[in-house]
Symmetry: C2
Subunit: 352 residues, 2 copies
């Protein structure tokens, strides 16, 4: 019982007594083959234990691998801790559905050494760049040289690369207006990180100016359009834990306590609410909290007032743009609109 090498299409053809071309046609169904021949070929395949055409040879011959790369800016674990990214991924899967392509996870983290499969050598037909990483420029350049069609989600990748984004600034402005119209004037912000180091702490002009995170900057700018001098805290990540910490810092001192907090994500908002509960501050009676994302925060017992962004649609649009690029078209950039959902975490400030 020696290990026989995997049979090839040529072996199958020989055993079936047909040519390789005919055997190929019998498998792909892309040409006219008589039923009798088809059966002979499949019988031969079954007898030899042939499991179908080798995808490596197919992709060389066809010039396509059937794989779409997703370039994450961080390591896999970090990316998947963010519910919004997961929804986007799901949307991408949906968007490229008609391609039947697989999703290859790639990260941004510099060179893939040696014979590693990185952005500069992955056998992908197209790529979706997720998030505006500082490395975006380099990634784009490599992909351009390789001639691999790309789409960017939330990040400006330059000419020829469709950008899928949302109205971060305007949406936040609308949320802020809603708070202002409720009567709030003492408002603070909890932002997403501004830099790759994920520096945590008070918002400083240094951090703001050095920002490499468009999303955080734009959302802050939107809040400033309504509350020009608004300030607050920078969280180290989008998580309940970070929101809790920032919330404690903002709410600790009763004399300087805001009546409303604008959080740049729902997870941060959930953390702020937890901080308020800890300190015996009633939400929304004594503190209004606004989120961003519109995810369902597992375990949160409030109906969060938030800006609902279409994460899945965003991913789907990116996927569809990939399909369109591969069809030779030039898809346009898309900017989605987020919708203010008024839940039970906002109310007029307590007067007195």
């Amino acid at each position: 019982m020696s290990e026989s090498p995997r049979p090839t299409l040529a072996d199958v053809a020989a055993r079936a007594g047909v040519s390789a071309s005919t055997a190929s046609l019998a498998f792909s169904g892309s040409g006219p083959v008589s039923d009798a021949t088809k059966q002979k070929v499949h019988a031969a395949a079954a007898a030899l234990g042939y499991a179908g055409p080798d995808p490596r040879a197919q992709s060389l011959r066809r010039g396509r691998s059937g794989i779409v790369g997703v370039v994450l800016e961080e390591r896999v674990r970090a990316a998947f801790l963010d519910p919004v990214k997961i929804q986007m991924l799901d949307g991408i899967t949906e968007g490229i559905g008609s391609l039947g392509a697989g999703l290859l996870l790639l990260t941004d983290t510099g060179e893939a050494g040696g014979n590693a499969v990185g952005i500069e050598s992955a056998p992908v037909d197209a790529v979706v760049l997720v998030g505006c990483s500082p490395r975006l420029g380099q990634s784009v350049e490599v992909l351009r040289r390789r001639g691999i069609p790309s789409v960017a989600i939330e990040g400006d990748a330059g000419d020829g690369i469709p950008k899928i984004s949302i109205d971060n600034r305007e949406a936040t402005r609308r949320g802020a207006e809603y708070l202002r119209d409720l009567g709030h004037t003492r408002v603070e912000v909890v932002t997403l990180p501004f830099d790759a180091a994920r520096t945590r702490g008070p918002i400083t002009s240094e951090l703001e100016h050095g920002s490499t995170a468009e999303t955080a900057s734009e959302r802050l700018a939107g809040a400033r359009e309504v509350f020009p001098d608004v300030t607050g805290r920078v969280a180290g990540a989008s998580s309940i834990e970070e929101g809790l910490e920032a919330g404690r810092a903002l709410l600790a001192d009763p004399s300087s306590r805001p009546t409303a907090i604008i959080a740049q994500s729902d997870l941060l908002a959930a953390g702020v609410i937890q901080a308020a509960e800890e300190l015996g501050i009633a939400v929304p009676a004594e503190l209004s909290v606004l989120g961003f994302d519109g995810i369902r925060v597992d375990g949160l017992q409030h109906d969060l007032t938030t800006l609902v962004q279409p994460s899945v649609a965003k991913g789907r649009a990116a996927g569809e743009a990939v399909v369109s690029l591969l069809a030779g078209d030039t898809p346009r950039s898309v900017c989605f609109t987020s919708v203010l959902h008024v839940g039970d975490t906002t109310a007029p400030p307590r007067t007195g």
Copy 2:
């Protein structure tokens, strides 16, 4: 400015005035090439905008694609909602690190129609099967025919396929013993789903016997070794929300209230704790709660007593088994041990 076709290694070689073999060697560094020649080749590549060898051709020639498939039992979103799976994925990434391989996401969901990249046609060098899906058998058979080395995490895939698992039964037994030793006798369980339909509700013998979920069954069996008649609720998923619902059902009636609840995941445990808080039941004074997993539940303010399973190590072991298989070795199955972490959610039952 017409679109010129992508240059090939042959083009580069021609322009550099060397043979294709030499150009290849200059790129791969796997043969002796003079520095002068190397420079000529790289200069020619730069001039032509050659971005490096085509990975499709490389993988046909070398017989390897540099890609490892991860077969999830559910759609991408569902899989990534589970923190344990994400940690495992991270561990897999780590374990195959030395390969420099990319991770291709595949799902179990039947045939990939047409020219889709599915389990039966993905250009992967090896595969990690995650979770014990009812389809596991079919997937394994397809991979066996294709000659693709596979590793299974938490699922019995049969001969020749190394299995990476944890001591679900024994670990739960140890947790249950701890509760018994504290003095608990009125104990209930909140389990993970038993079937593909994720049926939610009271534990019935019908559900138990029809189980396709080894993990849920084994953990329940472990609890029964200490509390033979223990019963409880089946959750529809591993989430705080589901734990909350199950917790409410178990705690609603003061006359039949348990003094301890064994949850089959930390998320479920967090939900149970939330239900207790809602009902004004103090944890751990009036109710002890035991979890499983040892993840950090974002936002949970308790130090959960739980069985810490080495999720990352599990993934890493699977990744290492893949490396070993690709090296021609025959790695052994591994069963990891979970460790009881005593936090602040368990205490002796209130006497009186």
